[in-house]
Symmetry: C2
Subunit: 232 residues, 2 copies
């Protein structure tokens, strides 16, 4: 059957999200080629069928071509397709969302990217604004019952940093007590290696963050943890 | 860049689920062509870039080629891709899940399909067993907090039919009281047009199912309704 129909073009696009003082930000670059030359767009490109072993391979290769950053969290989002989304013809874009701490990005010097707040997007090429919307919805939804926002933080973090991160993801400020109740965080001390929350996914480490105030315990997550109930 | 790489093949596959006395069933057909000729497989095929206006168009066209059934619920599941999933080379399969009541299927005389219980699958072609697994996981997960299983029922249904449907989806039998508590179904009579549940998504109709026992009220859902909390 394939010989009767022109194959669609297939690309992989990445909604790379990070966190700054301004909140949740998306990485965009200015397109150097037609179509949409000069427009802001998500990083993306065609699958290299001669070298990519999987779609996630394509994602990581494309990001490596633009920056040295290796996102710790990459998830398939949704496939966008149709005859009109690209002027070159019927096309398929397999969209991914990736989360990366801003500190990792700064270290990687991603000159190819500019970062824009997801809630105040400029005009984007193709259907990339739709892809960002779906990515942000997915991240907010999944963050409401899981440790997903931890992938926007360094590997070890304080509970205050964690709270700021959840607040930034949802664009909502809460009290310390509300935050702890939503995530099921227990009151009182925990020993290193023990969980600080009911679901057992936020693990205390031996390390502390030193600063002006009293040292703050650092925590970590092993993998994507789920809370017992919708928490946000 | 496309000129440097052979484009992958792109197909759309459908995990068409229905409900029988044996539980949740998936529609399979025997492949008439190589590769995997004679193997059981999901309905699917290449995108027709000359006529399909969207991926959902491709799904519905492919189902129409095999049966007259029009599923009321169609959702994109996940895109499966890689160099090894099809012996013909690098391929992309955009997988969909569709739900349809068995009564609609019987009416449509889908001679092209045989139905197999999702929990006791025979060997399938390509990565189709993975696609079924992901589809069933998605349906079970989404059914735990929504009216998704209603798309496996006729447009109007009794609460007992609804309970049997949730039980079949989850493969678990519960008491009438447990079922009603999980879905937040209120005790007592409701008027036609009113919701019988806390979330306001299960609407009473004017109609009753007549039978050996006392007439049972028929209910409907307008669209995919979400319950207030994870209910299963």
């Amino acid at each position: 059957m394939s010989r009767h129909y022109r194959k669609p073009d297939v690309s992989v696009d990445v909604v790379l999200l990070t966190l700054s003082q301004e909140g949740l930000m998306v990485a965009l670059h200015e397109r150097g080629n037609e179509p949409c030359r000069g427009s802001l767009a998500l990083p993306g490109g065609y699958i290299h069928t001669n070298e990519d072993e999987s779609l996630e391979d394509s994602v990581r290769r494309m990001l490596r071509e633009k920056t040295t950053v290796e996102p710790r969290y990459v998830e398939q989002l949704q496939t966008f397709a149709g005859p009109d989304r690209d002027p070159r013809g019927w096309s398929v874009a397999i969209s991914y969302v990736a989360l990366v701490p801003m500190a990792d990005l700064i270290e990687a010097e991603p000159a190819a990217f500019s970062f824009y707040p997801v809630d105040r997007l400029p005009e984007l090429a193709f259907d990339h604004a739709d892809q960002v919307d779906v990515a942000v919805q997915r991240v907010r939804n999944k963050s409401s019952y899981s440790t997903l926002p931890c992938w926007l933080l360094p590997e070890k973090f304080t509970l205050t940093q964690l709270q700021r991160t959840y607040e930034a993801v949802f664009g909502e400020t809460v009290t310390r007590a509300t935050f702890r109740s939503r995530l099921g965080i227990k009151v009182g001390d925990v020993r290193a290696g023990e969980a600080v929350d009911e679901a057992g996914v936020l693990i205390a480490t031996d390390d502390y963050q030193l600063g002006n105030q009293r040292p703050a315990r650092l925590f970590r997550v092993d993998q994507l943890g789920l809370f017992r109930r919708a928490s946000w």
